[in-house]
């Protein structure tokens, strides 16, 4: 079996990783440190209230240090030897099913490790300030640590079972953190909804894993990808579509998007870390990691791009209509992940941009969410942008960092988003054919809408006349919150150029996803169009939200606005198609079980016993009756057996 795989794997160097050495051989520390942090904070109880947040932050920083060391060690290795395996322990074994807990340190996983631990640590630090008045701060940091550990397992596992454990682990952390203020019914409901919708996606991922085991007899990336070309086209497409369903759940892509907007009930650092920078991008990771599957199935790839484009537009439209600053950002997150999914579906020319955009987005979106948190702090936890306005003067650092993130996301030339998003649009057109044109133009339009809704958000919050409530006295946030903002802003500005210039990131990822055929063109035929659309978007927002005064209550709006405000009726659809029928089915089933199944049995018992009084008599004299019935029954059977002469 192993030799066969080795032969099959000869096509790509990434398929037979070597054993890890040095720092990489203790890559398990990446997971163990935050996991230990979570365990200590949860088990120690109130005793660690005083310094629990510091321990949590230290654990996350510790993981970051290990990640950086492992990264530099990798840079010292030859490109073909950058995939390293860390053997941990045998996990499940029964018959032919063997699953080992191993970690795979390769360029793709290490990129995520740096993003998760780097941005994660900054958000830990920020939370020290943001959560300083919360009596449950220790529990908050425990959950954050748990999240970091699970997310690292997700990206570091060398097989789909390990990935699945991390996948569900981040789902748990997300559930706990969305519902962190669980005394609020809305938060508790949002948490539950996120978990359940994600489970629909997990259904897909679970079945995909079953198909892979039945097809390949193994669940490690190495074996699955090595033998993928031998499986039938139908099987490969099925796996691709099932994985996509999983990705849709975790990454809030249509049709499983509805949970993400509600997830904003969680504390803002959670929205930044989990529901913007890292967890929601796990679907993109899954697709790019499984590229060997998708490369064999054009149908699955096409559906991936359709989901991506549909979501990037839907998210952008929702983002235009929200007055809640966090929900507007959440719509934007959906939309940006739509770009990444689109890129991942485009195949080899897209992978690098999918991941590069993911990293760039990790910086600017986390920065903007944290900025929104800083604004909320200043505004007594209000999220309604109609009551903001003119904050640039009182919160200069928040304004500057948020502004850089804003310029990055709308694709202002030179900033991160410009490099990565333009790359995606270019790759979509490069796909060629009608589908390439459609995807490309829709992605272009999405970029214009992005500029519009982000400018709207920017103007309503930081520009214009103050529309604050009476008792609001905005102030800049403390250093422990602004320093992370500044660091994230640096990433938003420079990240894209660093990754894309000189095809640096493409070459780095090449051992995993293969090298794109042509090196990336900085200026494409579409550069000017993207820029023009961006200017139009900003201009439109300027006219609507800066030239004219913003009313403190939302105007009624036309049906199109209502459509966008109601999240494109996603919840209404779920409710009428799934929830209501589900509730009726449940009630009917309970009725049926009580009256039907149980009723028949009770009736039968009464019939045999004559009356319920007789049943009681059976009870009182049960030893006698029992002995008798045993005897009679046995006699009957023995008689029957002798009669038929076996």
């Amino acid at each position: 079996m192993t030799t066969m795989n080795a032969v099959l794997a000869a096509g790509g160097p990434e398929l037979h990783p070597q054993a890890a050495e040095g720092v990489q051989s203790v890559a398990w520390l990446l997971i163990a440190l935050p996991l230990a942090g979570a365990a200590i904070l949860l088990l120690s109880g109130r005793r660690t209230d005083k310094w629990g947040h510091l321990l949590g932050t230290a654990m996350s920083l510790g993981a970051f240090v290990v990640g950086v060391l492992a990264f530099f060690q990798m840079l010292g290795q030859h490109a073909d030897g950058r995939s390293r395996l860390v053997h941990l322990f045998p996990f499940i074994s029964a018959g032919s099913l063997k699953v080992d807990m191993n970690l795979l340190v390769d360029p793709l996983s290490i990129s995520f490790v740096l993003l998760i631990t780097g941005v994660g640590s900054l958000i830990h630090i920020y939370s020290i300030g943001y959560m300083s008045h919360d009596p449950d701060r220790r529990r908050f940091f425990a959950y954050l640590n748990l999240f970091v550990a699970a997310m690292l397992l997700l990206v570091l596992a060398d097989n789909y079972v390990g990935l699945y454990i991390g996948w569900e682990g981040v789902g748990l952390a997300s559930y706990l953190l969305i519902g962190f203020w669980q005394h609020k019914p809305s938060a508790a409901t949002a948490a539950k909804k996120a978990f359940i919708v994600n489970r629909v996606g997990d259904f897909g991922l679970s079945v995909a894993i079953m198909v892979m085991f039945a097809t390949f007899g193994s669940l490690s990336y190495q074996d699955v990808f090595g033998q993928a070309s031998q499986a039938s086209q139908g099987t490969i497409t099925a796996i691709g579509l099932l994985l996509l369903l999983g990705a849709c759940g975790k990454s809030a892509q249509l049709p499983l998007q509805s949970w993400l907007l509600d997830a904003m009930e969680g504390p803002t650092p959670v929205s930044a870390l989990i529901h913007a920078a890292t967890m929601v991008t796990a679907g993109v990771y899954l697709i790019v990691r499984s590229h060997a599957i998708y490369e064999l199935s054009p149908d699955a790839r096409l559906l991936v791009t359709i989901v991506g484009v549909a979501t990037l537009l839907a998210g952008a439209i929702i983002g235009c209509a929200k007055d809640d600053i966090k929900k507007a950002l959440a719509g934007s997150t959906m939309s940006q992940i739509g770009y990444m999914v689109l890129a991942a579906g485009l195949g080899r020319p897209g992978y690098v941009f999918a991941i590069a955009h993911l990293i760039a987005h990790g910086f600017f979106k986390a920065g903007m969410f944290l900025g929104a948190g800083s604004v909320m702090h200043a505004m007594n936890d209000d999220v309604n942008m109609r009551k903001f306005g003119g904050l640039r003067k009182v919160m200069p650092i928040t304004f500057a960092t948020f502004g850089l993130g804003y310029l990055a996301i709308i694709g202002f030339p030179g900033l991160s988003g410009w490099w990565t998003k333009d790359g995606i649009i270019d790759a979509a057109f490069e796909k060629g054919g009608t589908s390439g044109q459609i995807l490309g133009w829709l992605a272009l339009i999405g970029a214009g809408i992005t500029a519009y809704y982000m400018s709207r958000l920017m103007f309503m919050t930081f520009f214009g006349e103050p529309r604050w409530d009476e008792d609001v006295h905005p102030h800049e946030s403390p250093k422990v919150m602004t320093v992370p903002l500044i660091l994230l802003a640096i990433g938003s500005v420079a990240g894209g150029a660093f990754l894309i210039l000189g095809d640096r990131f493409a070459k780095f990822l090449a051992p995993v996803v293969g090298e794109p055929e042509a090196s990336h063109r900085l200026i494409t035929p579409y550069t000017a169009i993207v820029f023009a659309l961006m200017v139009v978007g900003v201009g439109l927002a300027y006219v609507q939200y800066l030239r004219r005064p913003v009313p403190r209550t939302a105007p009624a709006g036309n049906p199109a606005v209502t459509f966008a405000r109601k999240d494109l009726y996603g919840d209404a659809l779920n409710e009428s198609l799934l929830m209501r029928p589900g509730q009726w089915l449940t009630r009917l089933t309970v009725f049926f079980d009580n009256r039907g199944v149980d009723g028949v049995v009770n009736g039968l018992a009464a019939f045999i016993g004559g009356t319920s009084g007789r049943v009681r008599r059976v009870q009182t004299g049960f030893v006698r009756s029992y002995a008798l019935s045993m005897f009679v029954g046995a006699a009957l059977v023995v008689g029957a057996l002798f009669l038929v002469r076996i």
Binding site: L42, F91, I92, S93, A94, G95, S96, L97, V161, I165, E168, G169, L172, Y175, G179, Q182, H183, P185, A188, T189, K192, F195, I196, R199, D202, F203, S206, V207, I209, M210, V211, F213, A214, T215, F216, G217, Q230, A231, T235, T586, R587, T589, V590, D593, V597, N602, A605, V615, R616, V618, Q619, Y626, S629, M630, G633, A634, L636, V637, V638, I646
Partner: protein
């Protein structure tokens, strides 16, 4: 060793029962002491057990009723071993958890109780029989333990249960008697068959030998299979034989509910794996489509019913109906992953459902109501109770990292490799499980704290000592199930050889071999 494990609690039961009236505290201490000794002994046995050795170890065999070929024969394979461990670890925790259950007086749901010492004596008697039923390697002896278990359970539900206890107890008894009767007929039938083959016996090892197996006509085998299977399906319980369980578990005191759902019901699935499959391999295969269908129905049907429950204990009972669907699915998928997974599922389900019942019991004993809508916002006043309840619940919805995931995953993967459609439908269960657990958790633990809950105390030290080991086991087995799987796998391999089934090959490899 095994005899000691049966005899010690049995003697303990007598001892406790014979204590003078009014020595309730002593009765509890003796019960706890005895069950702890049994737990330690069983762990010693588990350590000495050699997974790669003979299938049955710690065997003992004496004539019991020579005229009818009945032996007192006991021994454990890996499957029986882990189930005995499950029982002996749970019982002392249940004793400790039920410390005040029998002497609580007053309250809405707490009608007058009978004697305290009898309750603990019954628990001890039940433990003896649980060990016996898993250890018996003589079919008649198995049957005796199987039926004898009813008696303590009947009295525990009937005397110490909730307001509808006598209805629940009689229902439990009637169902079980019906199943037991069918099984008795089949047991006698087996003896007749073996006598016709020239050697009347009840010994499992002799009955599964080819000379007797080949002597049974396929039709007879099907009838005998049904006799055993229906008895086990009622015990397990499999839809449509399940309606006794919510009543029994809902009315029984929480501690007893743990043993009924956590251990007793496993006798049903254990029996299917050990007796149905190995004694009637042909019939088992013949009935497989029926059993798989019932299993899948059970998974979905039980889960939907659980979602609709308004009573916490009944809800947990229905989740078990769903989980037992997974167990029987895994057993009859006839793959090593499916059957090892199903066996592991029996263990994991015992612990996670046990923890759920215990914690629900702790909560109910404070508030005096089992209705979900009697609670709300418990997390604020009792964070430890809520936290442990959540962990147990998450194990119930098979969250990876907790033990149930491993077994559910193995069952699904093992089933899919042979039966695609049932496995896919069963996977819907993971969505439904999230709904029933998290919705219950939200309604009881989250939201604003209900007025009636405001003064609720968090877990006491005693209660914490009860749940902490279970939670620890749930987490440990979630990450490192190897020790249990190592014990189970060789036994399952024997079963699969007996039913002439091999794991399906991966389709890629098959294609390769055709070329």
């Amino acid at each position: 060793m095994l005899t000691a494990l049966i005899a010690i609690p049995a003697v303990g039961a007598l001892l406790v029962a014979l204590l003078p009236k009014g020595r309730d505290a002593l009765a509890k201490q003796v019960a706890l002491g005895v069950t702890l000794v049994v737990a330690v002994l069983s762990i010693v046995m588990a350590v000495q057990f050699d997974p790669n050795g003979k299938r049955f170890q710690f065997t003992e065999k004496y004539w019991w009723i020579k005229q009818f070929g009945v032996h007192y024969a006991v021994g454990v394979d890996g499957v029986a071993l882990v189930l005995i461990l499950l029982s002996t670890i749970l019982v002392p925790l249940v004793v400790l958890a039920s410390w005040n259950d029998a002497d609580r007086s007053g309250g809405v749901d707490a009608p007058p109780k009978r004697s305290v010492k009898t309750y603990f004596a019954l628990l001890l008697a039940l433990e003896a029989m649980m060990v016996g039923v898993f250890a018996a390697t003589d079919v008649f002896l198995f049957y005796v333990f199987f039926e004898a278990m009813l008696i303590p359970v009947y009295f525990i539900i009937g005397s110490y249960g909730g307001p509808q206890r006598s209805y629940a107890a009689v229902k439990f008894l009637l169902y079980s008697l019906f199943g037991g009767l069918l099984m008795l007929a089949a047991v006698i039938g087996l003896y007749v068959v073996s006598a016709n083959a020239g050697h009347g016996t009840f010994l499992f090892d002799e009955l599964r030998a080819p000379e007797i197996l080949h002597h049974i006509s396929p039709t007879t085998a099907k009838w005998l299979f049904l006799g055993f299977f229906i008895a086990f399906a009622i015990k397990a319980p499999l839809v449509p034989f399940h309606t006794w369980l919510p009543d029994a578990a809902g009315q029984a005191p929480a501690g007893a509910a743990v043993l009924i759902v956590g251990v007793l019901d496993k006798v049903g699935t254990f029996g299917m794996l050990r007796f149905c499959l190995e004694l009637f391999p042909g019939a088992s295969k013949w009935f497989t489509p029926v059993v798989l269908t019932l299993s899948v129905i059970g998974i979905v049907y039980g889960a939907v019913l659980a979602i609709g429950q308004v009573d916490i204990k009944r809800l947990i009972a229905y989740t078990s109906v769903s989980h037992f669907g997974f167990i029987t699915l895994g057993i009859f998928a006839m793959t090593s992953s499916g059957q090892s997974g199903a066996t592991l599922y029996m263990v994991n389900h015992g612990f996670s459902t046990g923890a759920l019942f215990l914690l629900a019991g702790f909560m109910i004993s404070r508030r005096g109501s089992a209705r979900i809508d009697a609670y709300g916002g418990v997390q604020k006043v009792a964070p430890l109770l809520a936290g442990t309840f959540l962990v147990a619940g998450l194990s119930g919805l098979s969250l990876p990292g907790l033990s149930s995931f491993v077994s559910e995953f193995m069952v699904l993967v093992g089933t899919f490799s042979r039966y695609k459609v049932p496995a896919v439908i069963a996977t819907v269960g993971i969505i439904l499980a999230a709904i029933y657990i998290l919705w219950m958790y939200q309604r009881t633990m989250n939201g604003p704290t209900a007025e009636a809950v405001k003064g609720m105390k968090d877990l006491s030290k005693r209660e914490l000592i009860v749940v902490a080991p279970i939670i620890a086991i749930i987490v440990a087995l979630g990450f490192y199930p190897k020790p249990v799987l190592d014990a189970i796998n060789p036994s399952v391999k024997q079963t699969l050889i007996q039913v002439h089934q091999q794991d399906p090959k991966p389709t890629v490899a098959e294609k390769g071999s055709h070329q």
